[in-house]
């Protein structure tokens, strides 16, 4: 395992962000505005112009928790999967703004699963490169 001050700092940043999220969420529950917690907002955005959100969340899940070990999917440069992800996101944002269409539950599910598969196959951290 990697140790050192850098590592500790990053772990602390992660804990800090999680705490900030938690505190904001509790404040949103306690204030008297209806339907304003982040999950409701994220669904609202996903159903609106930002239907890339389920794709991004799926890709992050696939990247963090899954990940194929098959090196055949590995790209030449580790930054490519991220760039492609950004590219796809931008395309989806453009489509979202230009083409209004109804985002049904099954559509969002399909996008979520597509993201998960992208994260698993093309943005894996587990490639084992055989010598």
């Amino acid at each position: 395992m990697m140790e050192g001050t850098g590592y500790t700092i990053v772990v602390n940043i992660m804990i800090g962000l999680a705490l900030a999220y938690f505190i904001i969420e509790i404040m949103l529950i306690l204030n008297d505005v209806e339907d304003d917690t982040s999950n409701v907002l994220l669904l609202e955005w996903s159903k609106g112009k930002s239907f890339f959100i389920p794709f991004a969340l799926g890709a992050i899940a696939g990247h963090l928790f899954l990940g194929t070990t098959n090196a055949a999917f590995k790209m030449a440069n580790g930054i490519f999967p991220v760039l492609i992800l950004f590219g796809l996101t931008i395309i989806m944002v453009i489509i979202g703004f230009k083409v209004p269409f109804e985002k049904t539950k099954s559509f969002l599910t399909a996008i979520l699963i597509a993201g998960l598969l992208y994260g698993h196959f093309f943005w894996s951290m587990n490639y084992i490169v055989s010598p």
Partner: protein, 133 residues
């Protein structure tokens, strides 16, 4: 408590402000990770690397992530709060249980187990953690 309520009423009662706050927080995570990617090789790991190396201890996070995603896209709305509040307790007891189990694991969980954790987190959140209205 009333002081907090007053503060919230003053600063966090407009849906526009709330949206900006939530969006900024989410954006901040992405920006920090991009900075970390650029710092790579200088002893700073990225968020992903931290999660990867601690996967066995973070099985509760896998479960929670599945739950949170289910909470966003498959939210179930109920009217009566009292009847269902135990479900939320059950969900977070499960998270805590996984946290305790994770502390004793030493090897990374298998792919199958991770998928199972994501799915069961989602299903349990759907069943046990509805939106109260």
């Amino acid at each position: 408590m009333s002081k907090l309520k007053k503060f919230l009423k003053k600063h966090l009662s407009e849906i526009r402000t709330i949206k900006i706050v939530v969006a900024v927080l989410l954006g901040l995570m992405v920006v920090i990770d991009i900075v970390l990617v650029m710092l790579e090789g200088k002893d700073f790991p990225t968020f992903s690397l931290v999660v990867k190396q601690l996967r066995h201890r973070l099985i509760w996070f896998t479960f929670l992530y599945g739950g949170l995603v289910a909470k966003i896209f498959y939210n179930r709305k109920v009217g009566e709060k009292e009847k269902e509040v135990t479900g939320l307790l059950a969900f977070f007891s499960m998270v805590f249980l996984l946290f305790v189990i994770g502390r004793h694991l030493e090897t990374a969980p298998s792919l199958f187990l991770q998928v199972l954790l994501l799915l069961s987190g989602g299903v349990l959140a759907y069943r046990a953690w509805p939106q109260y209205q």
